[in-house]
Symmetry: C2
Subunit: 583 residues, 2 copies
C-alpha cells in the first residue's frame, strides 16, 4: 500500500511508501493521524496549510461485508476541529484495489483552473477540465464518466465546494454512478475546493483485490461476520425494510424528534414522512426499496426514490435528511424533501447541516415553518452563491449569527442531528464531547437508550450515559478505521461472535495478532489523537457543552432539559487519554 | 453611588447600593467585574443571560481633565470574550452626577416593543417609543431630544443594534447632541438590541457634581494634571492640530499602514487622506478643526467635518476610521470616508470592523479595491439588513467565512486596527493577547515603537515588545477604569508628575490612600478578571495568536513577518496573574 501525495502548488504527484508512523492505520485512524502530524492545528482551514486526506479502511477492498467506507479528513472549515467524515460508494474499494492507503492533497494552486485527478494502475495524473467549473455533482460525474469510462468511481465537489462554503461535502458515486454518497459533515468539500480539485476519477481496470495474509482464515471470519449481520433483527430486517428512516416514528414516539428548530420533541406530521410511508411511496413508483450503496453490503439500507412520474429523483433520503428538512422545518412532504435531497447532493452540501440551517433561518423569520417553497428556494440560493445562499451554506451557527438569533442548535459550530439531547440524554453526551462537533455517528447512544442494543438506559436520565457514549465512541472510531459501515454495530454490540469476526478478519487479512483490547485500541488511539489536535487548536472543556438552550428551555412533551453535569462530561475522555496517550 | 438594575423581562427597575464586591470600582474595572460575576461565561451573547453594563469611570463627573469616558461591558457577540468598549460624549458625566455607578441591563423582553429608559433625579422609567423602531441614531436622538429636552444626553443604538449584528455599536451624544461618540468595538450594541432597549435618555437637571473627599487636594491635583496635558507635545500640539489622523503619514512612513486588506504596509494615496489634508479641508469649509467630545477635555482632538457646501456631515473621522475605509480599502478620498463615517454612526456599526470587513469583501471579489461607490453601497446594505448587509454587519471573520477566503485580519474574531503587526511587532503582541480580541487601545504599543513615548523599541523587532505591551495594557485598563481618555497616556507615560496627579486625584476624590502600585493594580486586577472570564468561556493560548498570514506572508515594504514567539506571547499575563489573582 502507498500514500499518494498530490501537491496542488506545483502540480507534482508522489507515490510513497507508508512512513513508519502511519503504518498499520486505515480509514479514520489514518486520516486523523496524518492531519495531526502534518496540519498546523491553528492554520486557516481554507488556507494552503490545511490538507485533505482520503483513505479507505483497513478491510476495504476485501470481501468483508459492508467494508467499503471512504474516510475524508482535514481541519474542518465548519468547526475548526479535526474532522473525519466517511461515505459509502465505490471509490474506497477502488482505491484499496489500486494499493492506495491514502490520498493526501496539499498546497494551493496558483491558477484558477478546475483540476481533475485521474488514477489508474499506471499512476495518477492531474488535468484541467475547464468545462466542469461551477457544475453540480450530477453534471460533473456524468461528464467524467463519459470521458473516463463507466467503470470508474468518482469523488467530486459541487458548487458549494468550489465556493468554499463551510458545509460543502465530498460526493462519492454509488454503484449506479450517481453522486449520492457524501462525506457530509464538517465542510471538507470546501477544503477540496481550496485545492482547486474538482474531482478524483479512479479507474480500477487491471487492479485486484488486496491479498490477505491468511486467505482461508479471512474467508472463514468474513463468513461468520456476514452471517451475524444476516441474523440481527436491525441489520437483517428493520434497515433493509425501512432504511434509516425507520427511525422517524420511533424517535417521534420517544419525544426526541427535534421539531421546528428544536422547540419540540414531537412532530404531528411524522407519519407522512416516516419510513413506512417512504417504503409505500417508493414501491408504488417502482423505485428501489432496498439498495446497496457499495458492492458487498449485506444490509442494503439504501434505496432509490422516484418522482410521481416514476422517474429517478434521488437516492432514498436518509432519516437524518428527512428529519432535517421535515420535522425540523415543519415540512411533512416526502416529495419536497426528496427534491431538496437531490438539490443538496448536486450542489454538494451537508443535508443535516442545511436542514438545521433552514430551520434557524425560519426561526429568524426568513420563512414560516412548513413553507416548502421557501425551503427549496433557499437551497437553490446556496447553489447560486447569492449572499443569502453563501450564508446558509456556512451552516447554522453562521446563519444564527448573521440573522441575530441565539437559539442555534450547534456544538463547536456543527449542528446537532436528529435526536434532541433533552429527551435523549446520551446523544447529548456524544454531541458535547465528540471530537467532531455535534455528530450522532460519533457515538450512537440511540442504541442503548431507545433500541436497547448494547445496553438499557433511560433516555431521560443522565445515569450511565457518559460511560455508554465513551464505549460507543471508541467502537465507532474502530469501525471507521476498519472501513466498516457504522450499521454493523447493531449486530456487533450484542454479539461477541460478530465482534470476534471483525478481530479475526483484521488478523487474517493483515497478518496481525490483535486481542479484543487491541481492536478497541484502534478506535481509542484515534480519538486521543483527534482530541490532542483539538486541544492544540484551542478547544477546551468549555467547548464540550451543548448550546445554552438545552440547559434552560425544557423540551415538550417530556419537558426535560439536558441534565448530564459538566463534571461528568469532562470525565468522558479521561480514561481514554490515560490508556491510549501517545508515548 | 448606586447601581441601577433594569430587568427587561418584567420591566422592573431597581436602584441598589453597590454590593461589597463591586465597591471601589469604576469604568472598565466595574463593567468587567459585574460581567465576570453575573454573566455565565458560556452563555449565548445574544441570549437572555448576557447583560449590558454601562459605567462612568472613577473620576467621571469631577473636574479632572478628560475624565468623561463611558464604559460599556458584556459578553461580546463578535468575539465571545468579555468586552469593554468606551466612548466620550456627555452621558458618563451625567450618570456620575446622578450618582449612578453603573446601569445593568439584564433579561430579555417578551414583547417586541422599542423601549427607552429615561433617567432623571427622580429615578428611572421605561417607556415604549414605537416611532423609533428601525430608526438610525441621528433620527433617534433628534426625536428624543425633542421629547425630553436638549440638555439630556442620549445613549442609543441604530438599525445594526436592533438587528443584533455583531459589529453594532452603542452611540453616545456629544456636546452638540450628535450621536458621534461610540462604544464601537465588539458588538455591545447588539446586546442592547437583544434587550429591546433602543435608547437611554439621561436628564442631568437638578444633579450635581460628585463631591470629593478632599476638595482642595483634588483641585490641586486636577490642576497639575491639566498642566501636564498642556505641556506634552502630543496632547497639547499634535492631537489638537491634526487629531488622531496625524498618524496616517507617520504610520505610512513606518511601512505599517495596512493597505488593501493587509497586503502592504504602504499606501500611495496616504497624503490625500492625511491629518494635514483633513485639517486644510475642514478649515476651508468652515468646519471645526478642534473640538472636545465631552466637557472638560483639554486635548480637543475631535473635529467637525463639513461637506463641500459647508454643511455638517459628520465628526472629523478618526485615524482608525480613515485608515479602515481609506488605505485598507484603497480609497484615497476624504469626502467618501466622511460620508461612510456618517452612515456608520447612523446605522451604528464599528467603523474599524466595518472598514476591515469591506476590505475582506474586496479581497473576496465583491468589489475592486478603491471602488468608493461599492463601499458606500455595501455600508448602506448593512443599514437595510439585506442578507449581504447582515453578513458584512457581522464583521470580517464572518464575511471571510461566508465568502470563502482565508486572508482575514482578525484575532478572536475581531479585526485588527490600523497598524500592521508585521511592521509594528509590539502592536501584534497587544492584538494577540488582549482580553478583547485585536484592539489597539488595549495597549498602544505605537507609543514606544513609533512615537518613542514611554520607551524606545525597534518596531521591526520582537525584543522587549511583550514587556512593553504588558505595561501598556495595565496602564490602559487603569485609565479605562478611572474614566480618563486614553490619550492622557501620552503625557503620563513619560511624566511621573502626570501619573502622580492621577493618583492624587483618585485619593483626594475618593478618600483613598493609594500608592503608585495600587493605582496600577486597578488595571492589573481588571485584566486578570477579564482573562479569567475568557478562560472559563473556553479561550486558550491558541486564541492568543495572530492570523496565520501574519506569520507566513511578508509585508512590503519591510518584507517582515510577525516574529514574537508563541512562548513569549504566553508569558505576557503570567506575572499579572501571579500578582493580581483574586484571593
Amino acid at each position: 500500500m502507498k500514500l499518494l501525495r498530490i501537491n496542488m502548488t506545483d502540480g507534482s504527484i508522489q507515490s510513497q511508501d507508508i512512513p513508519a508512523e502511519y503504518r498499520g492505520l486505515g480509514g479514520r485512524a489514518l486520516t486523523s493521524a496524518i492531519v495531526a502530524a502534518e496540519v498546523p492545528p491553528c492554520c486557516a482551514p481554507l488556507g494552503p496549510n490545511n490538507k485533505l486526506i482520503l483513505a479507505p479502511g483497513l478491510l476495504t477492498g476485501t470481501t468483508a461485508a459492508c467494508s467499503g467506507r471512504l474516510s475524508a479528513g482535514g481541519k474542518s472549515p465548519l468547526t475548526g476541529t479535526i474532522k473525519e467524515s466517511n461515505a459509502g460508494g465505490t471509490a474506497a474499494q477502488h482505491l484499496a484495489r489500486l494499493g492506495i492507503a491514502a490520498i493526501i492533497v496539499q498546497g494551493a494552486p496558483t491558477d484558477d483552473a478546475t483540476h481533475v485527478l485521474h488514477i489508474t494502475t499506471d499512476g495518477a495524473k492531474l488535468t484541467s477540465q475547464a468545462r466542469l467549473k461551477g457544475k453540480g455533482n450530477y453534471a460533473t460525474v456524468a461528464s467524467l464518466f463519459k470521458k473516463f469510462g463507466e467503470k470508474c468511481s468518482i469523488i467530486s465537489i459541487g458548487q458549494a465546494g468550489e465556493m468554499k462554503l463551510a458545509t460543502a461535502t465530498i460526493a462519492v458515486t454509488d454503484p449506479e454512478n450517481r453522486p449520492t454518497r457524501h462525506c457530509g459533515r464538517g465542510g471538507l468539500g470546501a477544503v477540496m475546493g481550496t485545492k482547486g480539485l474538482k474531482a478524483i476519477v479512479i479507474d480500477p481496470a487491471g487492479s485486484k483485490r488486496p491479498e490477505s495474509a491468511d486467505p482461508e482464515a479471512f474467508k472463514a471470519a468474513a463468513r461468520v461476520f456476514a452471517d451475524e449481520l444476516r441474523k440481527n433483527e436491525v441489520t437483517s430486517n428493520t434497515l433493509p425494510m425501512y432504511g434509516t428512516n425507520a427511525l422517524i416514528n420511533v424517535i417521534n414516539q420517544a419525544g426526541a424528534l427535534p421539531t421546528r428548530n428544536f422547540t419540540s420533541g414531537y412532530f404531528e406530521g411524522a407519519e407522512k414522512i416516516s419510513g413506512e410511508t417512504q417504503r409505500e411511496t417508493i414501491l408504488a413508483r417502482d423505485g428501489l426499496a432496498k439498495h446497496a450503496c457499495h458492492p458487498g453490503c449485506v444490509i442494503q439500507c439504501s434505496r432509490v426514490y422516484h418522482t410521481k412520474k416514476k422517474e429517478y429523483l434521488t437516492k432514498g433520503p436518509e432519516y437524518e435528511t428527512i428529519w432535517a428538512h421535515g420535522a425540523n422545518c415543519g415540512i411533512d412532504n416526502l416529495d419536497v424533501i426528496a427534491e431538496i435531497d437531490h438539490l443538496e447532493d448536486d450542489i454538494g452540501v451537508d443535508t443535516i447541516e442545511t436542514g438545521a440551517t433552514l430551520a434557524v433561518a425560519m426561526s429568524a423569520g426568513l420563512a414560516e415553518f412548513g413553507d416548502a417553497k421557501a425551503a427549496i428556494r433557499m437551497v437553490k440560493e446556496i447553489g447560486k452563491g447569492t449572499p443569502l445562499g453563501r450564508t446558509l451554506g456556512c451552516g447554522a451557527a453562521v446563519t444564527g449569527k448573521v440573522f441575530g438569533i441565539s437559539h442555534v442548535p450547534t456544538v463547536k459550530g456543527q449542528s446537532m442531528p436528529a435526536y434532541d439531547p433533552r429527551a435523549l440524554q446520551g446523544m447529548g453526551v456524544t454531541y458535547a464531547t465528540s471530537t467532531m462537533g455535534a455528530d450522532h455517528t460519533a457515538g450512537y447512544s440511540v442504541a442503548p437508550n431507545i433500541l436497547k442494543i448494547g445496553g438499557d438506559l433511560d433516555p431521560l436520565k443522565p445515569d450511565g450515559q457518559v460511560e455508554a457514549s465513551r464505549d460507543l465512541q471508541v467502537a465507532t472510531a474502530m469501525l471507521d478505521s476498519a472501513g466498516l459501515c457504522l450499521f454493523v454495530a447493531f449486530a456487533v454490540l450484542d454479539s461477541p461472535a460478530a465482534f470476534g469476526a471483525i478481530k479475526d478478519m483484521l488478523n487474517a487479512h493483515l497478518g496481525w495478532n490483535l486481542s479484543d483490547d487491541d481492536v478497541l485500541a484502534i478506535g481509542g488511539k484515534a480519538l486521543v489523537t483527534e482530541r490532542a489536535f483539538n486541544k492544540a487548536a484551542g478547544f477546551t472543556a468549555a467547548d464540550d457543552r451543548l448550546p445554552e438552550f438545552c440547559y434552560t428551555e425544557p423540551l415538550p412533551p417530556h419537558d426535560t432539559v439536558f441534565m448530564v453535569t459538566d463534571q461528568d462530561l469532562d470525565q468522558l475522555f479521561v480514561p481514554l487519554e490515560e490508556k491510549y496517550a501517545a508515548k
